[in-house]
Amino acid sequence: MLEGILIGLQTAMSLQNLLMVIAGCLIGTFIGMLPGLGPMSIIAIMIPIAISMGDASAALILLAGVYYGAIFGGSTSSILLNAPGVAGTVASSFDGYPMAKQGKAGKALTIAAVCSFAGGTIGALLLMVFAPMLSSVALLFHSAEYFALMVVGLSAIAAFAGTGQVAKAMIMTVLGLIMATVGEGALFNLPRFTGGIMDLQSGIGFITLAMAMFALPEALFLVLKPKAAGSAEGEIKDLRITRAEARAIAPVVARQSVQGFFIGVLPGAGATIASFLGYAVERNLATKEEQAEFGKGSIKGLAAPETANNAACTGSFVPLLTLGIPGSGTTAILLGALIALNVSPGPRLMIDEPQIFWAVIMSMFIGNLVLLVLNLPLIPYIAKVLSIPRNYLIPFILFFTLMGAYIGQNNATELLILVGFGVCATALKFADYPLAPLLIGFILGGMLENNFARSMQLYDGISFIWERPMTLGLLIIAALLIVLPSFRARRARLRAAGVADGD
């Protein structure tokens, strides 16, 4: 491991890559602050730039920096304006915004910065320890298990993505898989479902779909419902954390770093779930007097989600780097970027290209440090970006989504497809269909089919499902993950309606 760390340091400490980390963190922080642009959209916008750099480790370092920056930037706007720009920081506004209203905006932002740093750093340490272990297990996996594992990943996403609406999440996942079958197929390169349209021969563009699913609907929502932005000119004072407060937060940070990391490792969970769970757990663990504080400006209530979401962001890199399975929508986009750079994440990554693997881990430490150093003095100025008038902001957001799709394909037809899908995605968002499963399904679809086809050919039929116990086990877990939440919700509803459980 020491050797790996040294390789990583060597790669990450090069001037170019250090600049990449700093640039990524800055870009992520500034765009992440804008309400409506989450890390998924920002990374999707940054992908063309990252891909055209050509150097995979530099690109991944840049995108990882953007990712951290975006999560931190999102907490800034949720604390100052109660307008979380990122789903993962919604929980931060529960206690952060009340603190800002009490005139403790500076303290709240400082706590957010310090906790993000702690969560990210502890997460990176855990990643260093656990990723090699996970990847040696992963080498035992055959194509049959990969197929099953991807089904587990997909079903976990479906179960997590929609609380109490598993069917919707499932149809979106399957729809993503269906869209992945458009174009030349995994077998014999036969064009499928193109309807004779030449533009569809190579399939639907991944960046186009990512933009249409995330950035465009968010921008349209901003147009439809203008929020009162720029109204909170938060006084930034009282930056210091007292010794007593630090002592109160410390155990929270320690617990949530570990918990957040392991939630992040599970495919489908990610920063949003980790932050909500972290908030809930800390609330249950707190003493009675502290519990009353939660929701009214408790420092523990702010520290918990902030730590957990950064640790989970780091955790979600474990399945991405060692198994090639994205744990969240954001890492799904990163996976797409990696494949475009001719790097196939998976158990071979650490052996074939250790410099990429370790450079990313090292850049996590550097990135977290950079975020802390940059943000503490910048906090008073950061908030000013939010006061860009929306009349200028929205055209620029739209323009950047268009540019992202155009640069990726260099095809103007792609822009029309983007607008079309964007309108569909907005309609789906109105009807409360989760959009992330669609994109994850789309990205996993090709690999899922490839591994399925390979094991079908190896076993001359679907007998691999029952001949390989691990495959069968994983598929059963997948089935349980889909069925259990809806079963539980149903039982809870019946119980609420006064129907007794049968015994």
């Binding site: 063309p48 730039i49 349209l220 260099n410 009807a431």
Partner: protein, 160 residues
């Protein structure tokens, strides 16, 4: 019927067409040697079509009821929001897509940013123009010179 079920109905239609293609028409062009393979290009789509149709039917039948949530935007009162602006911006995006090649990057992008702000109600003409022109030039410089991606800057008749 609520919007989510209408959407499920539309999706069901799409999935039925997809399923019909996968089950009945796709295999017609398959070469004989491919037919000896245990998996055909249509195998995976066949499975997907069944899953998708099942999920659509579950939503349509309303077996799984979800608690009504406070949505960010209530589509039933869509006309109360700034729907006109949103539609005009979408139209602007389509126009941009159609103009990008023939008119060139610089003119179409400047116009896009200018009219985007105009649609949203901005009327400071000088500021709008300056912002649009400067932003266009910066982006064009970054994409063309720094990233090296070719984009026709000017209309064809100006030699772009």
């Amino acid at each position: 019927m609520a919007l989510d079920r209408w959407i499920a109905l539309i999706l069901l239609g799409i999935c039925l067409v997809y399923g019909y293609t996968a089950w009945f028409t796709m295999d017609a062009g398959l070469a004989p040697f491919m037919k000896r393979n245990p998996i055909w290009p249509s195998t995976f789509p066949k499975v997907l079509s069944i899953l998708a149709i099942t999920a659509c039917l579950v939503i349509l039948s309303g077996i799984e009821k979800s608690e009504p949530k406070e949505a960010e935007i209530d589509y039933r009162r869509l006309h109360e929001y700034k729907l006109g602006q949103a539609i005009m911006l979408l139209g602007l995006m389509v126009a941009y897509a159609l103009c990008l090649r023939p008119v060139g990057f610089i003119f179409s992008t400047t116009a896009f940013l200018f009219f985007g702000a105009f649609i949203l109600g901005e009327r400071k003409w000088v500021l709008m123009t300056v912002v649009a022109v400067i932003a266009t030039m910066i982006v064009w410089y970054l994409v063309q010179e720094v990233l090296g991606i070719y984009m026709r800057p000017l209309p064809g008749f100006l030699g772009g």
